[in-house]
Amino acid sequence: VKRKILIIDDSVTVRQQLAAILSLTGYEVIEAGDGQLGLAAAVAQPNLSLVLCDVNMPNMNGIEFLEHFRPKERTPAIPVVMLTTDGTPDAIARAKRAGACAWIVKPFQPDRLIAAIRRILGETVAQPAGAPRD
């Protein structure tokens, strides 16, 4: 059974890019265009393995999504990886408090993204985070 990943991003281009990469890697992909839609999709999905979430989005941003999602989710907790242009320490600290498990700064490197997801899902031992770019 393929593991299911929810992508939340207001950019169609980014969702398509992520969906292509994740599908090629063997994951099933669900997409949502903002935090509100993502929250509905995440709560409705019984077997979600991971959420990839943008931060700067209309209607409900990624941090607000996290703050709403954590109390609603089923157990065990679903890892949420933030994927955003924001690299400021304050934003990262807020996401950590809200329950994010990892933070990736856009534009992302596909190899690193997949390595991080596999590491979080326990599928393989990846290179240490922050390893030099290829």
Partner: protein
């Protein structure tokens, strides 16, 4: 030294834009600081596209507008999907490109002590693009980026409501690791042994 905060922020943003273009595989063949008038209509017969994004805090408000040849935005389109960019994708990509540019600017400005929040990027309608001429006159900084016969223009407008201090040296070391593509694990609790 001796440059205003506005000029220095403009330089930071211009650097972000130049670096981002290079990251997506395009080396400008024209100087990035050509005068605005250098943007001639040579768009392959297609209407230009434009995206705008705002940023600010209590002391400063700014907008970056990218407008230009959709062929160049298509040339910058990420190639991971292996699919050609559809017209609607290129418009979306222009918004995301503006978001990436100002997102990088926010990170670099933050390292120099200026923290700003971003608005969500949006596309401009053909009427709004046509009215950009008046905005161009008030923009303190504008740059033309060219590749082969394709060009787009970036306009930066900023308003200051209080003095803003931009530190000469970054507060944080450059190797903090929060550069593009970096993966930061926030909690080891998520890792499966």
């Amino acid at each position: 030294l001796g440059r205003s905060t506005e000029e220095r922020l403009g330089e930071i943003l211009k650097g972000c834009l130049t670096d981002l273009i290079a990251d997506f595989g395009v080396t400008p063949t024209h100087r990035i600081d050509l005068p605005a008038e250098a943007l001639q209509k040579n768009d392959g017969g297609q209407a230009p596209i434009a995206a705008v994004i705002g940023f600010g805090n209590d002391d400063i408000r700014g907008t970056l507008t990218l407008v230009g040849d959709r062929r160049l935005f298509a040339r910058l389109f990420p190639r991971q999907t292996g699919m050609p960019a559809e017209p609607v994708d290129v418009v979306d990509w222009a918004r995301e490109f503006a978001n990436l540019t100002v997102g990088r600017f926010r990170n670099r400005a933050s390292a120099h002590g200026v923290n700003v929040r971003l608005s969500c990027p949006r596309s401009l309608s053909p009427d709004e693009i046509a009215s950009l001429e008046s905005r161009k006159a008030s923009a303190p900084a504008s740059w033309v980026i060219g590749f082969e016969d394709m060009r787009f223009q970036a306009w930066l407008a900023m308003d200051f409501f209080a003095p803003v201090t931009l530190l000469d040296e970054p507060q944080r070391p450059a190797d903090l690791g929060l550069d593009d593509g970096f993966v930061l694990m926030l909690s080891e609790d998520w890792l499966t042994p």
